[in-house]
Symmetry: C2
Subunit: 598 residues, 2 copies
């Protein structure tokens, strides 16, 4: 409903005014991941972004197995399987005694058996398209990214934050003119990422009058608005950490080269020209991460974040990056058939001390943590932030869960961010260091060993959340110790459920168990009854458990509305270990085989 | 361009007149399969259908592994994997001494290892939707089914059939009024298939004036217009074969039953109430094929096709079919939560003596062959007809192939149809017969044995085409003998290429080889160089073959336009058997590793 507002910044203007359960600020991967949850669960949500168009090239490109598992849970993992470059092998090149690089190792990529998915790479715009298509489907085309829109003010009425029916947050937003919606490309014709790299360069000014303004009253606000997050600034949260002296360039090109492993991931240390990481991409593209000379920087100027100096952005050109790449790759040659995108970055590691305020306004993704891109983690951890957060907000909004579950977001995700920062700090040092044995050099054996040991971590499948209102286990002194219940010794509480293959009793079809646990907002209770056909004790327990779940006093009955399917809130899944040839369908209690659709 | 036509049926009317390379009459599965080829290959084609809307329920539902492989070659095999019911187990029920049915066997469905796909079932409308989506994508939304349109006349100018630039076929079509586009449902409110079953009932009259008429000049016409094909009649082709006395009903329902194997495929012979086949379907649906009493028929009235009598259609109701099903299933119970579709059919087997005329007008699918639905073959064989035919027409239209290849269509596909008719004849007799050991009964052991032996045939993966201008092998006396070249003893010439898994040399990614052979109109040449790293003779041969393919005199060079990619007409794929750890990319001749994108 329109209203006349008397206060700045909308003084005298007729502005639209509206209510929404959740407002998402920023449509990058973490914003999209929040939006897909809200679309799937039918939450009244909106998502705004300051860019006039979606991303078309470049940016983040790495999808780790855990992110692909989550895509699968939303039904679109077939798209990376068909479109992305999937990593299966890595090669390591190091200097030989003559100073030429040569291959020293070839390894299987990732960790065999940890996930059915392998790490995959494709440009961020394509990934955002998959989200868009799925969100369109789930929301019946009602949840769309609104652009180019930026927030101007955020006010929270603290007297209302305990009231779940209130809209305590007021955000004023404005729709940008087309001129303001297109970021400068810093003198390069080619679309590139320079405008968004190098901390401190980011404050863009919007000089044209906005097309319109709107006042949005929200129950929850998510700031998924990147490393220079506006939402984070409103909360007064300052990221902690530092930049390093390591400067790297990125090139997305179709290469012409005689390097034999150009379609494999390669980590290359040269004798004295720096390092390269090679990531084959979709179609014939290859991404090169190329270490630049440290001298290509301006003199130190000081900065709010500490002692680092600034990079001379004008020297970061595709030609300069390519020139450096050729020196590192010698004696192999490198030419370019097409250049799609480039950028430069100064390695730094920062993490926000807080991820939310009032349990009402949250930040996620790059707004919470920034680091170097080479571990291929950034987009993944950012998406997993909101995969963790958004269903919790949805449950609270729907009245299905206590707001107390919201505190687990920062508790769980900030630890992940800190672990990533630690990993990236070590990786950056080893990747950017000069190989050798003397002072100031790094051991390439140590580098390879570090990557090997970190390969489980980088799949994203080993995250282990601490005890909380959602994770029922003892508090631990040492977070590296996994905790399993004595009754299910291979299932570690607080970790992602392993994606084992099981045969469905009713039709004999083999399934990955994750395919039976889609992200649809339902809770699932898995019961393991072992070889109940060979054990009268287990069989009796199974009957007792089934009787309980069928009874009016069971919590499933209690929390399921009587006019909904019996599995609409909590789905029971029974896993048995008896010989399928000796098991009939009616051997199972009715609780585990509901016979109709209500 | 509009024109005034003076002859009937368009006398005095202003009608549109147009040219098209291929006109497809009938948008069922075989019509869609033709359309997807033409969309993919950029052929100027149109497809018309007399129905006002697409199919929404019922009809055919069985997809065999070979059809799924073809879907995969067009990029949409993930859709049945996600949406359809996939068959993994079958159960057999037979009468016990008390006359109650009981389970006598449980078997793995299909043939392990023959294909990565298992037979899948889902209603025909969904399958047509997958085609529609892919055709939209390939044709950029230009090739759409035009409805409700029927052909009125087909005239061929025989003087032009040798001229590939001419349009020798003239088809007049009319757009039906909405009233005429909706087939009668024979008194039942529920959408059903009765209007299209029972030979002789089909001649519908269109009594309302058409909305418009059009004269279409075509190079080729495909009649994929079903068992009562109008195109077939214009060609004067009369199917040969007979009906049997076996009458079956079909019910698509959400059942409530205590039959323990309701989510598996079941073949059930009762003592004296007839037989049932159970096919679990998408969502919670199950299709029941239910044998009806033979007495539920009208007295013999004679028919053009021979001695069979007609069925009293009014007695085929969901209630009557369900009643019979309950008698057969005794002592198991059957209730219905939802009924989606039903039909009845009289088993018969017919095949057309000719599949084309002038090598210009072709018929395919049910227009060529009709039989009982229980082997789940009809839709598959129909789609494979046009999968076989349409790329050949496309190649001739594009000037890439001689019209002589068109003769292989009838030669190849009529044999497949005859084999199917033979199979169906035996299966129908065994399925519809009364179990027992006396005269007039059938042996259920023989029935199960027949299904076992036929399971490879019904996958669709064992079709073996004879020698022709396309298939280079000796003419055979006995068509059951497979022929392999002495140089590749496990590849049988005339058969589908086996879908083995191979590891890609360049990136280490394992692929099913079919994924590297999409249906994109290119020819592929697979070279097998064995363990060339261990054999100097093989290595020398590889170099010689590579030199040939890179030379101006190679047929690849000859047939590839100089401004197109080297693999745009014929793609070379090299398969080696050396240890991948000892093979480097530059061990291969350049012909097998083109280094750029042109």
């Amino acid at each position: 409903m329109p209203a006349i507002i008397s206060d700045s910044p909308t003084a005298g203007l007729q502005v639209k005014e509206s209510n929404v359960d959740v407002l998402i600020v920023g449509a990058g991967p973490s914003g999209y991941m929040a939006a897909i949850w809200f679309a799937k669960l039918g939450i009244n949500a909106r998502i705004i972004d300051k860019r006039g168009t979606k991303v078309f090239t470049g940016q983040a490109d790495g999808l780790q197995p855990r992110a692909l598992e989550v895509f699968n849970s939303f039904g679109f993992a077939h798209r990376p399987a068909k479109e992305a470059s999937v990593g299966f092998e890595s090669c390591y090149y190091e200097p030989d005694p003559n100073g030429n690089i040569h291959k020293v190792a070839r390894k299987v990529e990732g960790v065999v058996g940890i996930s059915r998915f392998n790490g995959s790479v494709i440009h961020q715009g394509r990934i955002e398209q998959w989200f868009t298509d799925a969100i369109d489907e789930f929301s019946n085309n009602t949840l769309k990214v609104e652009r180019p829109i930026i927030p101007e003010s955020l006010v929270v009425d603290e007297s209302k934050i305990q009231d779940q029916s209130a809209y305590p947050i007021t955000v004023t937003v404005k729709k940008l003119s087309d001129e303001d919606a297109t970021p400068e490309q810093f003198g390069h014709k080619l679309e590139n990422g320079l405008y968004r790299q190098f901390a401190g360069d980011q404050e863009r000014e919007f000089t044209h009058p906005p097309e319109s303004r709107e006042i949005i009253h929200a129950k929850y606000v998510l700031g998924t608005d990147g490393a220079h997050s506006w939402v984070r600034k409103q909360l007064g949260i300052v990221p902690e950490g530092e930049s390093t002296d390591y400067i790297w360039g990125v090139l997305d090109i179709v290469p012409i080269t005689n390097l034999p492993d150009i379609r494999k991931r390669c980590a290359i240390h040269s004798a004295s020209n720096g390092s390269i990481m090679i990531i084959p991409r979709e179609c014939d593209l290859v991404r090169f991460y190329i270490q630049l000379k440290e001298t290509e920087r301006e003199p130190e100027v000081g900065s709010s974040a500490g002692t680092q100096s600034r990079v001379d952005r004008s020297k970061i050109t595709p030609e300069a990056i390519l020139d450096r790449a050729r020196k590192i790759l010698h004696p192999y040659t490198l030419d370019v058939a097409e250049t799609h995108w480039f950028t430069g970055y100064q390695i730094g590691q920062r993490v926000a001390p807080k991820f939310e305020k009032w349990e009402r306004v949250f930040i996620a993704g790059d707004a919470c943590h920034t680091h170097s891109p080479k571990a291929g983690q950034g987009m993944n951890i950012s998406m997993m932030d909101t995969f963790n957060l958004a269903w919790k907000i949805a449950h609270v909004v729907q009245g299905k869960a206590s707001p107390a579950i919201l505190q687990t977001y920062e508790q769980e995700r900030r630890q992940v961010a800190k672990d990533l920062i630690d990993y990236d700090f070590k990786l950056s040092r080893l990747f950017s260091g000069k190989p050798g044995t003397g002072e100031g050099t790094i051991s390439t054996n140590e580098f390879r060993d570090f990557i090997d040991k970190g390969s489980a971590f980088t799949t994203g499948c080993t995250v282990d959340y601490d005890a909380s209102v959602l994770v029922s286990k003892p508090m631990r002194e040492d977070s590296s110790i996994k905790y399993a219940s004595p009754l299910a010794t291979q299932l570690f509480i607080g970790m992602r459920f392993p994606d084992n293959r099981l045969v469905m009793q009713c039709d004999g079809r083999p399934w990955f168990i994750h395919d039976k646990m889609p992200s649809d907002g339902r809770w699932r209770l898995l019961c393991f009854c072992g070889d109940f056909k060979s054990s009268p004790a287990l069989a009796a327990q199974l009957v007792a458990v089934g009787d309980y779940f069928s009874s009016p006093k069971s919590f499933i009955t209690k929390y399921t509305p009587t006019d909904e399917r019996v599995d609409s809130v909590i789905e029971l899944i029974l896993v048995h270990a008896s010989d399928a040839n000796n098991v009939e369908w009616d051997d199972f209690p009715l609780a585990f085989r509901p016979r109709d659709r209500l």
